[in-house]
């Protein structure tokens, strides 16, 4: 480790670390020698990457497949208006390079999959998981368990955050806490459920702190514990997490979409429903066809933008079956097409409807293809 040296510029930059007695130049050497992969360059990834870069972690992997969108800017503080439309990893790299030129940034403009996860993660000492969906959470966890890498975990929803350190020194991992994911649709994603913009800043910063503690060997990592933060009540709790003797041994990566009850286009595996495109819906409207349009989103989403459909939120669709026409074509839509597929599947199974069509891509597709003045969220 003594072979790691610093330039004058680096010593000055990191001086506030170097004068902490228990951190000192040895802690800084460990940071410089470390390789950290940040999975997800969004709400959590933004503070993570900013602080890890500023702190001088030697090699940082930036993994994401998405592009910067207007709706990211409320909380993803890595990005600015000029970055909209750019690949997130490229925009992140530009921002981070200007923050600290002494850090080696490696971009992975790719979706993490069972096929590539082991090859990518094996090059790093530690993974920080800032993803937004259950399949990738389980994938990151399992790959870290197989490769013996610590997994610094955080997750957020509306006003609530969770942080933990999994798989540290053979400690408990994500599956010890949550052996199986919730069924699709039960827990909305941030895209559907929302998140207060500051929360990922708070929780992602805690995550960055855990990364730095593990690498530097300073302090007690949050292993075997789960930290909870409620931004509304300002209540915090730290709970114990134990190894679960019933957790099966993880020997290989599996199909995580299937494990989480999803297939690749985000629909439940049993939701093989009839579809209609936004172009076909436009034709129905323009020709004054007799059909019913049902919107299964929530009222607060309807207020952002709508297609003048009848609002019946997914949670109440079965109770409101009397409002669903059975004698003509019914087009059901939501934001992206997933909830409306669930609604149709439920109605078909329980009541035998055969006249329901899912709007492929939802109101987002309508905004993309038909009406560019419509707000996307």
């Amino acid at each position: 480790m003594n072979s790691i040296s610093f330039s004058k510029e680096e010593l000055e930059r990191y001086s506030r670390h170097l004068i902490i007695p228990e951190f000192n130049i040895e802690g800084q050497r460990r940071l410089k020698n470390a390789k950290v992969l940040v999975v997800g360059t969004g709400g959590l990834g933004s503070p993570l990457l900013l602080y890890l870069t500023a702190a001088g972690v030697g090699t940082i992997g930036i993994l994401d497949f998405d592009v910067v969108d207007d709706s990211n800017l409320q909380r993803q503080v890595l990005f600015s208006v000029d970055n909209v439309g750019e690949p997130k990893v490229e925009a992140a790299k530009k921002c981070l390079e200007s923050l600290n030129p002494h850090v080696n940034l490696i971009v992975h403009n790719i979706r993490l999959t069972s096929e590539n996860a082991l090859d990518i993660i094996k090059e790093y000492d530690l993974v920080a998981d800032g993803t937004d969906n259950f399949p990738t959470r389980y994938l990151v966890n399992d790959a870290c368990v197989i490769l013996g890498k610590p997994n610094v975990y955080a997750s957020i929803f509306r006003f609530e955050g969770q942080v933990s350190v999994f798989n540290y020194n053979d400690g408990p991992h994500y599956r010890d806490l949550f052996p199986t994911p919730p069924p699709p649709g039960l827990v909305p994603s941030c895209a559907e459920g929302g998140v207060i913009g500051v929360l990922p800043g708070i929780i992602g910063s805690l995550q960055a702190n855990e990364v730095i503690k593990i690498i530097s060997g300073v302090g007690e990592p949050l292993a075997g514990r789960l930290f909870l933060f409620d931004a509304l009540t300002f209540e915090t709790r730290t709970l114990k997490v134990h190894k679960n003797p019933d957790t099966p041994e993880i020997k290989e990566l599996i199909d995580y979409e299937h494990f989480c009850g999803l297939n690749l286009n985000g629909k439940s595996k049993n939701e093989d429903v009839k579809e209609i495109t936004v172009g076909e819906l436009k034709s129905l409207i323009d020709s004054n066809s007799d059909f019913q349009l049902i919107d299964v989103r929530e009222e607060y989403e309807y207020d952002i933008c709508n297609l003048d459909g009848e609002l019946i939120p997914l949670g109440g669709i079965l109770e409101n079956v009397d409002k669903v026409a059975s004698d003509k074509k019914v087009v059901v839509h939501c934001r992206s097409g997933a909830r409306s597929a669930t609604a149709i599947s439920q109605l078909e199974k329980k009541f035998g409807f055969d006249n329901l069509y899912n709007l492929r891509g939802g109101i987002l597709a309508w905004a993309d293809v038909i009406d560019s003045s419509m707000a996307k969220y």
Binding site: G40, T131, P182, R237
Partner: protein, 92 residues
């Protein structure tokens, strides 16, 4: 009366109430007393056979009931019961 803390994703089933006083001397009795007040909550915590669902953890204080006496873990009027759901958010 033990206090049951409702996590954000389940508050839509409890009229946005964050904590609820529960009757009963065990975890099962306490959670059931809350679930009876809010039937929609029930199906998110319990399987049809009455088992607690695997993507939900129940804690008393800072301890997982699975390492205590599971659903039969005793609670007192000072107990704080936490329902911990899996949440996945982060990117968008």
């Amino acid at each position: 009366m033990a206090k049951v803390i409702i996590p954000t994703p389940l508050r839509k089933f409890t009229d946005n109430t964050a904590s609820i006083d529960a009757n009963g001397g065990t975890i099962k009795e306490s959670i059931t007393s809350v679930a009876d007040q809010f039937p929609e909550l029930k199906k998110h915590i319990f399987e049809e056979d009455g088992e607690i669902r695997k993507f939900v953890r129940i804690y008393v204080g800072d301890e997982d009931i699975n390492v205590l006496d599971k659903e039969n873990t005793k609670v007192t009027k000072d107990s704080v019961i936490s329902i911990i759901p899996a949440i996945a958010g982060g990117i968008s």
